[in-house]
Symmetry: D2
Subunit: 373 residues, 4 copies
């Protein structure tokens, strides 16, 4: 499993199991001189913390972050930033059941086949708690990118069958409801739907939207390390993600070239532009990338999240002895992952973009000579 | 642009521009002892070759592959396999026009911003011809995986508004029409639609479907290098891809947990199973992965391809002097990329899976001791 | 500084500063099923712990390791193993002096130029304490390799002008003296020399020897990832290393081909052989590698370590204001790094070899088919 | 053998066997805008070309390079630069002998064990011809670094027992003799020695020295990616290298701290300085690095090369049937590799340093903000 690292120049390595001692991350390659304190990280972790509404697991965790290295006198030093969150809720409990069978929708079976056995306490390494490390690292990336004028807007676009109505869109509303939806009416409707699901011992999925503005033109490398490709990997590395779109996404399959091509225009005359360049685009079907590089328009992405697989309803499965059995998973789980995954999507987007920002610096001879003169 | 390599153990590096001398690929990390000849590669390249129907560019290229290294006495030696395809159709032509402005939907503008200038002959490095290297490498990966009992089925699922009807599904039909659709009626309908588009100087997109069967359980690494994540990157690294789904994809956002969870069953009693394991799944909403690892069911993926951006209709854009102008791109281009991209999708899937096959070998102490005893 | 990771499949990431909260390492890619507990690690850490003899810094540190993840019910799970050692001796002290000038032989000046400022408490990231993470990771690698029958022998070959005499070589003696020399007479002589140096406020260097036996033939990849090349990087990544040799090292420059070539022989007839293969070598000038791959004979290496740069004698340097000044570094420091670096060399060798063991598994088609059948 | 690539941002991938169709390299990550033509590469290749003196193999090869991609209108475009040299001297010959046994000092035996068989024509992938790709890539790196004011001086320091005398050192002499020695008297003496060896059907080794001046301070990453560590890997990845030193190398093992520490001084007052910084060093025992980063002084390195293993004298070995036999290798081979390896050492040094130049650009927040403002 040498797959716990992500990024090339701004590189994160996460570690930890849901019911082990702690969860953590090492951030390597963070530029020196960024003002940073634990509160900067904590604000982000609080956005994914459990126990904040009736739609999240009641597991009691303060998820308090501790920075162990890489920051000195309030600034990053350029050395690895090690961050840890101690698991508080590791109380001894009876895992006997889930140790003996394979939960549908979970990684239990492939884990056993791949490694010969597994840490059967909770989700182990495949738990949503693994994303704590991503969010902590992402908080640093967002802070650094903000200083460059790059901003993120991320929210729940739909929950189950309930989608936001763009005519009611309100940025302020996002943090005003526990579902992180930018539409109060949709949020209320989604909340009702979720209460029904809880009563039915069921769960649902949804879609997260992320938009990044203020980007320099030309970030991303044109072939395999397209900014699109690295974002796709970033998002699909989040557990429960089953779909990813940039710009118009699957709608392009039905569009024509005339509809889908974005006309270029002079930046000053384009009202839609958030571009830093002299040229902008009149529309943004491409979602801010052309040929794998940022194209002056905002990056826009959509991520599809599957329903929480842990449900209390009766399900069919197989146990370790190879017998078909019926199970009902105990305990109360989040009926929806989407709201808590919003900040994870933002974190992964920021980590990916910061990496592209750093790699792009060596693209041109003239700029290298200028840098080192 | 240190982004021309893909893969960790089975690693490919592509090079070449559409109007340079040649296009090629170096495949590093191919296991020794695989029977291989140029014809094995050529069969795959012929599936993406231009000039095969009225829906592909009439550019004259035989796309004949030459193996320059890494094969000895008919077998791979374990050393890098270098393959080259010479560009035949590089005749001097007037590129003056496209050198001076930015084509909508193309990478021209970000290229100029990132690198200071660009090779303006055709698509340069962003041309579809770059995928020749991927297909050549993918042919090797498919051949090796076939020997392990892993098989690929890839086709056009929809072209513009025309989707296949599963009741008419026929594997044999795929290679029977120039659109690689497994439904003769849909293929005919799509062909009519494309002829209209050609007349209108327009183009369209579509969706490619890929399914992989016969996979061992447990391929993929559970966190960032999930098989899903690496496939997502692989697909989004193909030019013109705007969406990617595994299994039910975006439909999971509307499903409930009860609907979406796949029940496990004993393999012998599961008619749906292509599993090599003792356990299988009754359904396959997950698309063959759980926790980032193969789960016994076939891997199923969908890729959304945008309409060809090169269209002959009049479009608005900006030239290098920063003036807004109107253009009409000369020459005849593919009105649709989808059919020729089918084999590219298959190639990238195979390259990704072979890499996971190799990395997975070091997962367990008992198997390592057995290997080296 | 995205350079805190080492290895490709068995990958370690170290973090921490000498006077920060803690020092640690994340080991990713460790195969599942290896029995492991903290005591296995502690034995190795104790070999580099300070305060064990008059030749090491009296800094009080128990260097007690804590495993935070990746081990369950006494065995590795295949997930990242996070280990931490808390810095106990962080007492507030006056660093005012060393914050204002550049110590000769230390990284202070390049750190300031590269990052704009530095953590001036002790060596910061460049402290020898960084090697705690390497040793903890190396303990795991050695344990795993031992189970495969691969063994390590590492010791101080010379200290300053005092070299061991092979006629007095005794493996047992290595752990019998605080200098880790396999020759009691040389150890006594070196101890006298070091006492003189302490009196003179001076320090010295030395050479560490490492030998690895029981290796399968063919480990290492023939071009850039030669086992020699990866070992060379591993060793030169240790602070204070200025030279590295494999086999006869610099002596080959004066040898002839007839002298330097090792004749092959049938393993049964070779008394010198530790080979697992059917063929062995009559001599081992090559140090166990040919063409970058293990060749049946033991790997033999030598590492040159420079004198401790922190000395109490008066030295000339420049301060941050650009003025030439004279300094005398306060506190007592190790007059020699060599004995404590012995286990660091062994750790880095083991990490490198384990990575090669894992990568080698995918070299041959026949073995892959056998593995997955 | 996924080990045919070197470098992180400036990345090279070599391919080809000594008796295959061609030898080549793909250079990925070269910044755009560097003036480049085939003649720039050819000058470097000519320094390693065979058949130039009586001390090199008479194999007839013009080693003419062809650039296949990545250069447009005389400048690099930022896309991969693919270069090829066709093998001219592939005439059918009788390899029957060397196919059946294992040549001492060669990679034949480990190759067979690792891969199951090998390309037995000449050295295959382990041939010195593999370095053609390195030299071609290195020529680009040197040209780029020269434009930054970074210069290389590389020569043969000793051949067998004959070392240069520094009192006779002459830069001009290096290219004046076929052994690339900067001392005419030593070159003549070495030539006599080599003639004796040829008569005796024997060969010898030597030492190559490389010095790099004009470096910015702070190149290299402080832990595993120290500039020293990456150079060590670069050099040990060259076939036949058995030892590597930076600065005083193995001599530090006998030095004291007072002798070995380099005092810092104000650059203007240091006659020895080639530093671009405000501070320099009075001496350069460290060889230009401190803590893994360039320290203002020139980088100085020494590489030990073993004697050519192909000798015509009778040697003992084992054949594929496991029988002990006596052999005498036919054909005439270089009695010394050193002179032709001089340019390979320079190439690998330049590739390593350029990679560090690019990675270093993202080290500081203030410089990133300045770059993107």
């Amino acid at each position: 499993m040498a797959g716990s690292s992500f990024g090339k120049l701004f590189k994160i390595t996460t570690w930890g199991e849901s019911h082990g001692k702690a969860i953590g991350v090492v951030v390597d390659g963070c530029p020196a001189g960024l003002p940073l304190c634990e509160e900067d990280i904590q604000i982000f972790l609080n956005r994914r913390k459990p126990g904040q509404s009736k739609f999240t697991t009641p597991r009691k965790e303060s998820d308090t972050v501790e920075i162990l290295s890489g920051v000195f006198e309030g600034k990053t030093t350029g050395t690895p930033i090690s961050m840890v969150v101690w698991n508080e809720d590791q109380r001894s409990r009876d895992y006997g059941d889930i140790a003996t069978y394979y939960r549908p929708g979970h990684a239990d079976y492939p884990f056993d086949e791949k490694y010969g056995f597994r840490d059967y306490r909770g989700g182990g390494r495949s738990s949503g708690r693994e994303t704590i490390g991503r969010v902590a690292a992402g908080a640093i990336a967002v802070k650094l990118l903000n200083e460059m004028g790059i901003d993120f807007l991320t929210y729940s676009e739909s929950i189950g069958p309930v989608s936001i109505d763009k005519s009611r869109f309100s940025v302020n509303e996002i943090y005003n409801n526990s579902l992180y939806m930018p539409d109060a009416v949709a949020a209320a409707s989604a909340a009702s739907y979720l209460e029904e699901l809880i009563a039915e011992k069921n769960s649902c999925g949804g879609v997260i939207y992320c938009e990044v503005t203020g980007l320099p033109v030309g970030l991303g490398e044109p072939v395999f390390d397209k900014i699109d490709a690295n974002l796709a990997k970033a998002m699909f590395s989040i557990g429960s993600v089953k779909g990813f779109e940039i710009g118009d996404g699957f709608d392009v399959a039905r569009a024509t070239g005339l509809e889908n091509n974005d006309a270029f225009c002079v930046a000053d005359s384009c009202t839609t532009s958030s571009s830093k360049g002299r040229i902008a685009k009149a529309t943004n079907h491409s979602g801010g990338t052309l040929g794998g590089m940022t194209d002056s328009a905002p990056l826009t992405m959509r991520v599809a999240i599957k329903p929480t697989p842990s449900i209390a309803s009766v399900q069919k499965t197989v146990n370790k002895d190879g017998e078909e059995i019926e199970i009902a998973i105990k305990g109360r789980h989040d009926p929806i992952i989407v709201p808590r995954a919003v900040v994870v999507v933002e974190a992964m987007a920021a980590i990916t973009i910061l990496d592209a920002v750093l790699e792009n610096m060596g693209s041109r001879m003239d700029k290298i000579l200028e840098f080192y003169k």
